[in-house]
């Protein structure tokens, strides 16, 4: 029972079929997840669960072998198949894109090992299984769904651009291309060549990447099916800590920004802070990218050219670096300190500049000279000051206290015991901001200080826990080239539940406090959503709310009996998922 509760506090709960770990094993597993970056390849779950035969099982795939519908492949596809067969050591000849005897033999061998009838010819379903296997064995960085596999999608994914920008350079490039496209449309519109409606239509057509849709979906898949849900909860915590609204920064940066944060989670707080702050997503969200030092080269250039522009800083990001990311206003910093940070930040986020370093720092708008923050003078060279500042802010015990407080409020209680905060802050200080140590200390603090059902779950966490419990049933449909929120998508569902993560209203992220979520309308949405889901679950008969309630609340417990006493299936699902003790962890 204890580990079940802990998995709900620290992860996304447990699925119906998951074996219960004893407490010690749970803690070991949780801590292990936090020790090194887990694989992140959410597309494998699309490959696995989407497409024809999603609920048909292997038997159906076997039956498919008898069908005579063979596929014709182009040369490129044939090469890919040969490459896969070679990787799996079934094929030894050249990758030439010609299906000769050798290839046929290899296909037969593959069919044999997958318990299909050996014909040497791939049927559509066999091809899909092959693609799924290929996807699983592919490198983690290539977080994309093969186009061929998308064509099998029953979720209509063939229209979705699922390119996941793992490199910031690629994300910036895509972003700049979109800028050009927008300029082109704007020009056509200004010249009266196309009406506004056409601008919008063409824009959505071009912009159908829906980056936020893709990012929500991948995180959803990994939370519901993946093997590192504890790690993912901490990831979610940091995404929200360094919140960026997809509307304000270009959605293109969003996925890369998420991965950028993720990649730092086994490092230290200083690097995480630095990497969040310089990233173009944050730079644009808090508008630092166009902040200009009054004595910078750019400012001088403007003055020489008599440009009608004021060269001055924009302190938006600087203020949040001190207020939200590190010290908090309780530290009592002054306007001069905010200005000092803003001067240090000038020059970052210059994605339009050709002459930058790999983190998009350019000397052009940077305010020259030494800058003072909190009594310390930063004398480093221009592009090194920010890192030095991050190091000092990360070292500050007030930052440790802030991080510990945020973690405790997120994982333990709205008003966490001060012992819990001290415990995590202590781990922070002793480890010098080592995030593995801090995260593991949070695990210990949750088990030590977290009372049962003390924490009201945010809609997103509640939602993922339900879907992990029922083993999927995610609304992943992609409804094409429109921003319509009404379609059945994870994004629109989370939006209706009041918690679409990428649309954080303000830079302080989504609230950890129950009082901000407990409104009649938001509670009504939860009831309605489970009602809708129950209709689906009932049809498939794959989820038993009574048995799940026993696993969750204990066999024969009052709460389990209460779920069992529901007048019908739908009611039982609602009694389970809207139970006060399911909505809390």
């Amino acid at each position: 029972m204890k580990s079940r509760q802990a998995s709900r506090k620290l992860a996304y709960g447990f699925s119906f079929h998951e074996e219960s770990l004893d407490e010690e094993n749970f803690i070991n597993d949780a801590k292990q997840q936090l020790e090194s970056l887990p694989d992140f390849n959410p597309w494998q779950y699309i490959a696995e669960f989407d497409g024809p035969g999603i609920n048909d099982g292997v038997d159906d795939l076997k039956a498919d072998s008898n069908q005579k519908t063979n596929l014709s492949f182009d040369k490129g596809q044939k090469k890919e198949i040969q490459r896969f067969l070679k990787e799996t050591k079934l094929y030894k000849s050249a990758i030439d894109g010609d299906f000769g005897k050798g290839t046929r033999r290899a296909i037969s061998a593959w069919q044999k090992s997958n318990k299909f009838v050996e014909t040497g010819q791939l049927t559509p379903k066999q091809y899909r299984v092959l693609l799924v296997q290929k996807q699983r064995s592919g490198p983690v960085e290539h977080l994309n769904l093969p186009k061929e596999l998308r064509d099998f999608s029953k979720w209509n994914l063939s229209q979705a651009d699922l390119r996941y920008p793992t490199s910031v350079k690629a994300a910036v490039k895509h972003r700049l291309e979109l800028d050009d496209e927008r300029e082109r449309l704007r020009k056509l519109y200004a010249e009266g060549k196309i009406p506004e409606s056409e601008v919008n239509r063409l824009w959505w057509q071009r912009y159908n990447a829906f980056p936020w849709w893709r990012d929500t979906m991948t995180r959803t898949l990994d939370n519901v099916y993946g093997a590192a849900p504890v790690f993912n909860r901490f990831w979610h915590f940091w995404i929200n800590f360094y919140a960026v609204n997809v509307d304000a920064c270009e959605g293109e940066f969003y996925g890369n920004y998420y991965l950028n944060i993720r990649k730092n989670m086994c490092g230290d707080f200083e690097s995480l802070l630095f990497d969040a702050v310089w990233h173009p997503a944050m730079q644009e969200f808090l508008q630092n990218s166009e902040s200009t030092g009054p004595n910078s080269r750019r400012a001088k250039h403007w003055r020489q050219k008599k440009k009608h522009k004021i060269a001055a800083i924009n302190e938006n990001l600087a203020r949040e670096v001190l207020e939200l990311f590190t010290l908090t206003p309780a530290a009592g910093y002054s306007q001069e300190d905010v200005n000092g940070v803003a001067y240090i930040l000038t020059g970052w986020g210059q994605i339009w500049d050709d002459d930058t370093n790999e983190r998009y720092f350019s000397i052009d708008p940077h305010e020259p000279g030494n800058h003072r923050v909190l009594g310390k003078t930063y004398k480093q060279s221009a592009s090194r000051k920010l890192r030095a500042l991050c190091a000092d802010l990360a070292k500050d015990p007030r930052t440790a206290l802030h991080i510990a407080t945020k973690l405790s409020k997120h994982f333990i209680a709205d008003n966490p015991p001060s012992e819990a905060i001290d415990f995590i802050a202590d781990a922070y200080i002793k480890s010098k901001g080592d995030l593995i140590v801090i995260h593991q200390a949070t695990v210990d603090a949750v088990l030590k200080y977290g009372d049962d059902h003390a924490k009201f779950l945010q809609p997103e966490i509640w939602y993922f826990q339900i879907h992990r419990a029922v083993g999927g049933y995610l609304p992943l449909r992609f409804d094409g080239k429109t921003d319509d929120q009404r379609s059945r998508q994870v994004n629109s569902t989370l939006s209706e539940l009041g918690h679409l993560n990428c649309r954080t209203p303000q830079p302080n992220g989504w609230s950890d406090l129950a009082v901000d979520w407990l409104t009649p309308e938001m509670m009504d949405r939860r009831v309605r959503y489970v009602g809708q889901l129950a209709n689906q679950l009932r049809r498939d008969k794959s989820f038993d709310p009574y048995l799940y309630a026993e696993k969750m609340f204990g066999e024969g417990s009052l709460d389990a009996q209460y779920v069992a006493g529901a007048p019908n299936y739908k009611s039982a699902c609602i009694r389970l998922f809207c139970h006060p003790n399911f909505m809390r962890a």
């Binding site: 927008r182 924009n314 302080n508 129950a514 901000d516 409104t519 949405r525």
Partner: protein
């Protein structure tokens, strides 16, 4: 540079209302209505109601200097995008207060918004809001047309909210079952009551003007809500603020259009209505390096409606010279915003000074009457 403004909507909007508390239907009969408009992000009073008579204005602002402002009183002008409010002003149904704010100089959105909503001098001192406490004192319950219920409305006994959804409504027996399941839970009990009793079936997407007219219609009903709350985001204009055109002007025009629609829908009842704006702080007097403005202190408050003593800009103008500015950068506060809101609350909720000090702006006694309301 305006790349992000062209194709995307900028407004997040929600609003809420207070209806007479059913438990005390006749304790405080009033026909008066209030619309509170939250302008989140820190509204630039110098761009919406520019002090044309201050010669420093054009020295410290260039790209964002508002051209073609319409004259109000010989000193102040009004941004041309506030067309409706400007014309209402000259008809005597709108007024402005300038160089006003809450007494908070910390320049943090989150502390500032907490103070503007709680009405306390320290952030996070209480969890209730000044409008919520005023409604409580007057015996109103509230209905918010939004998913969350902002702090400013919290603090009265019964809060409800509404926002159109596309989820299928659950059956009555389901709601009854859940209500029973939640009845002994201190946080969840009663939360579904307003849902169960609800007649409204207003599917849709939450378009601002649609919702405003819905709110106005509800407020128009004899037993309908007395207070509405409308929320605008996007006033945090650090970059590319624009002047009489561009981002800031567009949000002002959207606000202006929404208020015009509200007046139309309110009909005769508009004579008995006050519309008042609230923002967390004003912005720096000078333009910053990204054709915008940073967090400052004092701003302007807009008032409209038949209960407002219009055609006046109330201000004790501190000036824009660098020595006049707070810390050399922000417009100084010379009128405490609580004085403005206290007058509004006293008029609409029929509360007295004592109740304001005891329950609304706790411990604060407004120093002077500003004469913003018609005598009722």
């Amino acid at each position: 540079m305006e790349r992000r403004d062209f194709l995307k909507g900028t407004l997040g909007t929600l609003y809420m209302m207070a209806s007479p508390n059913m438990a005390f239907p006749d304790t405080n009969p009033t026909e008066k209505r209030l619309l509170v408009v939250l302008l989140r992000g820190g509204m630039d009073g110098l761009a919406s109601v520019p002090p044309l008579g201050d010669k420093n204005l054009s020295k410290i602002r260039k790209d964002i200097l508002v051209n073609g402002a319409n004259d109000l009183d010989g000193f102040f002008g009004i941004n041309p995008s506030l067309r409706f409010l400007g014309s209402e002003y000259h008809k005597g149904r709108a007024a402005f207060v300038h160089a006003t704010s809450f007494p908070y100089t910390g320049r943090s959105h989150f502390d500032g918004q907490n103070i503007m909503e709680t009405g306390f001098e320290q952030a996070y001192a209480v969890t209730s809001g000044w409008v919520g406490r005023a409604m409580n004192a007057a015996g109103f319950s509230s209905l918010s047309v939004s998913l969350p219920i902002p702090i400013i409305l919290r603090g009265n006994a019964v809060n409800s909210n509404y926002f159109p959804t596309n989820f299928q409504k659950a059956g009555k027996s389901i709601y009854t079952d859940v209500k029973k399941m939640w009845q002994n839970d201190p946080q969840l009990t009663g939360l579904l009551d307003p849902i169960i009793g609800r007649q409204m079936q207003h599917g849709g997407r939450g378009d601002t003007r649609e919702l405003v007219s819905f709110a106005a219609k509800e407020m128009h009903k004899p037993d309908g809500p007395r207070v509405g709350l409308l929320e605008f985001e996007g006033f945090d204009t650090h970059a590319l603020q624009g002047n009489e055109h561009g981002h800031h002007a567009e949000i002002l025009a959207e606000l202006d259009g929404v208020l015009e629609g509200f007046k139309r829908e309110m009909g005769d009842l508009y004579d008995n209505t006050v519309v008042v704006t609230v923002t967390e702080f004003g912005r720096t007097a000078s333009e910053n390096g990204t054709q915008g403005t940073d967090h400052g202190w004092a701003s302007a408050i807009f008032l409209a409606g038949g209960l407002v003593k219009g055609k006046q800009v109330i201000s004790d103008w501190p000036g824009l010279g660098s020595k006049d500015l707070y810390e050399g950068r922000d417009l100084l506060m010379t009128i405490d915003a609580r004085d403005v809101y206290a007058e509004v609350i006293k008029t609409v909720f029929d509360l007295d000074d004592e109740e304001i000090t005891r329950q609304v702006f706790v411990g604060y006694r407004p120093e002077k009457s500003l004469g913003l309301m018609r005598s009722t």
